[in-house]
């Protein structure tokens, strides 16, 4: 929590503080990650139903941010706003700002297509392309964007290996993406997103259809990806949030109740609601 706040507040007051403050600031800048994405009073609606109420949250670069909260509280909606997928739903709209490297992605003239290329997404429900083979699914993002990789097999193998799926599918790469089990399909979708090498990876409950072994692999994967990617993961699994994330945001009925460093949030929650939720005392 502190680290994020420090870097956020550091920006508007450069040099205005005294020497000690400045050195504290410098120290914070050295240890604190840069802010990759930041929402400012982000609101979202489905028709007249307001689903997100003025959410302001910063997402640090090359860290894992977990989004937790009871079902229907707007977690999916929130991360779908981060790559402008929310507006794809008929009747859905949003207000407020989402900064990606300091630029508002909702600003006029920003192409949502380009935003989505930089901010990849793994959906809550696995959605591989059934008319494409497993290999083509992995390459879909590149091919559909007109990129022809020089060594497609390498791209496929790397992405599938990263998603912990390679060993299971290496002999059936030409089979349809829909012929896999639900959990395998989800990992295929992760591989498909990683093949594009986005800067931010949004994951909406990527493990909800996976067995404990595959879940452990995905968590390992998240640890590895952290070096290069900024990750936002929605999860219902408190242990998982505690295991994989550096920062955690707790949502409740469309509001961001609390966010901060994961350890702090789980050991010393500031709000009663958060405590109730993470200790399982929830209606």
């Amino acid at each position: 929590m502190m680290a994020v706040e420090a870097s956020r507040e550091a920006a508007p007051t450069p040099g205005s503080a005294g020497d000690t403050a400045r050195s504290a600031e410098a120290r914070a800048a050295a240890t604190a990650p840069a802010v990759k994405m930041q929402t400012e009073a982000l609101r979202a609606w489905f028709g007249a139903h307001e689903v997100l109420k003025a959410v302001s949250l910063s997402i640090p670069e090359r860290r894992v941010t977990a989004v937790i909260g009871p079902s229907g509280c707007g977690k999916s909606t929130f991360i779908r706003c981060l790559n402008r997928m929310h507006e794809v739903v008929p009747g859905a709209r949003s207000a407020g700002a989402v900064l990606l490297d300091g630029v508002d992605i909702f600003e006029r003239g920003v192409d949502p297509v380009l935003v989505r290329r930089r901010v990849g997404m793994v959906f809550q429900r696995a959605n591989p392309f059934p008319a494409m083979s497993i290999a083509d699914n992995v390459l879909a993002g590149l091919r559909l964007n007109g990129v022809r990789p020089r060594h497609p097999e390498e791209v496929v193998e790397r992405a599938l290996a990263q998603a912990a799926l390679w060993d299971e599918v290496k002999d059936i790469l030409s089979r349809s993406g829909a012929s896999l089990s639900g959990g395998q399909q989800q990992r295929l979708c992760i591989a498909r997103t990683l093949a594009l090498e986005p800067e931010v990876v949004l994951m909406d409950e990527p493990c909800s259809a996976l067995d404990p072994i595959a879940t452990a692999r995905i968590e390992e994967l998240i640890h590895e990806l952290k070096d290069r990617y900024t990750i936002v993961i929605v999860t219902h699994n408190m242990q998982q949030a505690a295991r994989v994330s550096d920062f955690t945001a707790f949502f409740y009925i469309g509001e961001l109740v609390e966010h901060g460093e994961t350890d702090a949030l789980f050991t010393r929650p500031q709000k009663a609601r958060t405590e109730d939720y993470i200790t399982g005392r929830f209606g």
């Binding site: 790559n83 997928m85 794809v88 008929p90 297509v113 380009l114 935003v115 989505r116 290329r117 930089r118 990849g120 997404m121 959906f123 429900r125 959605n127 591989p128 392309f129 059934p130 008319a131 494409m132 879909a140 993002g141 559909l144 964007n145 349809s176 829909a178 979708c189 498909r192 997103t193 594009l196």
Partner: protein, 280 residues
């Protein structure tokens, strides 16, 4: 026990009625097929498929130009009708909201119910009168108009069956909307759309009425768009209403050829559908 027996009796009775009704429905179909095969097979020969029609009174001759002509007409109809139909279907499924789309949908539904002879008259007025003669183009346009509603609505229905999650998957990969529609949605629905097109083509191939006064007929080969052209249905009609025994024989043989052609197209459509079933 009594109730049980009553139920049994009703069950057997109902089943018997179903089987009887099914047989009744199949009988005409089978008898038409059988009759065409029996009457038509006699007139079949190698030259029937390779030779041009002979003038009245001379024996032999074939319908080679009519077979090719039918294929040419269907080809023209596909070139004109399929792109328009598929694009209209894409519009209705992917972009069509509001009044205009509803109107288009309604028009397509009404169009599929229009008698084919009315389409023939329409194209006759539009093309034949203005060009001052019958032509393959006019025939192809008439068939295309007949195919259009089927192709449009089939495309729309099949694209609507493609789950939204696939569209979202494509968009989330940073792919522009039109490309998602083309490369993901259309590709996923393609086998079904191909089936629909095949069925529309099979139907158009058997149409006679709209061709009578658009493509008319031709005793010779024709590779021209602006000349009249022979077709199997019109040739069958011409032969069947003639007073000559030899021509009657040939009408049956030509009918057999047409039926087999249409059946082959239907079978092709089924194979495509099954291929889709496997890949799912």
């Amino acid at each position: 026990m009594d109730a049980y027996r009553r139920r049994k009796v009703i069950d057997v009775g109902a089943r018997a009625a179903c089987v009887a009704a099914t047989l009744l429905a199949v009988v005409p179909l089978v008898s038409v097929l059988a009759y065409v095969v029996v009457r038509g097979a006699a007139g079949l020969s190698w030259s029937f498929f390779t030779a041009l029609p002979q003038p009245v009174g001379e024996a032999g001759g074939g319908v080679a130009n009519a077979i090719l002509g039918s294929l040419q007409l269907v080809g023209i109809a596909c070139v004109l009708g399929v792109p328009v139909g598929v694009l209209a279907g894409i519009y209705l499924a992917e972009y069509g909201r509001g009044r205009f789309a509803t109107a288009v949908r309604y028009a397509a539904d009404v169009m599929s119910g229009i008698p084919s002879i009315a389409v023939g008259i329409f194209v006759y007025t539009l093309l034949v009168l203005s060009m001052r003669h019958f032509s393959a183009l006019a025939g192809g346009v008439a068939l295309a108009v007949l195919m259009l509603p089927t192709v449009t609505r089939t495309t729309e229905e099949l694209l609507k069956l493609v789950p939204d999650s696939l569209r979202e998957a494509g968009l989330a990969l940073g792919v522009p909307r039109w490309r998602v529609v083309l490369k993901v949605v259309l590709r996923t629905g393609a086998p079904g759309i191909a089936t629909g097109i095949m069925l529309a083509v099979a139907r158009a191939a058997g149409e006679t009425a709209p061709l009578l006064f658009t493509a008319f007929n031709n005793r010779f080969w024709s590779a021209s768009l602006v000349e009249p052209i022979a077709s199997l249905p019109v040739q069958i009609f011409t032969y069947a209403v003639s007073p000559y025994e030899e021509w009657h024989r040939q009408a049956w043989a030509a009918a057999l050829v047409l039926v087999v052609l249409v059946l082959l197209m239907n079978a092709g459509a089924r194979v495509l559908t099954r291929a889709r079933g496997r890949s799912r």
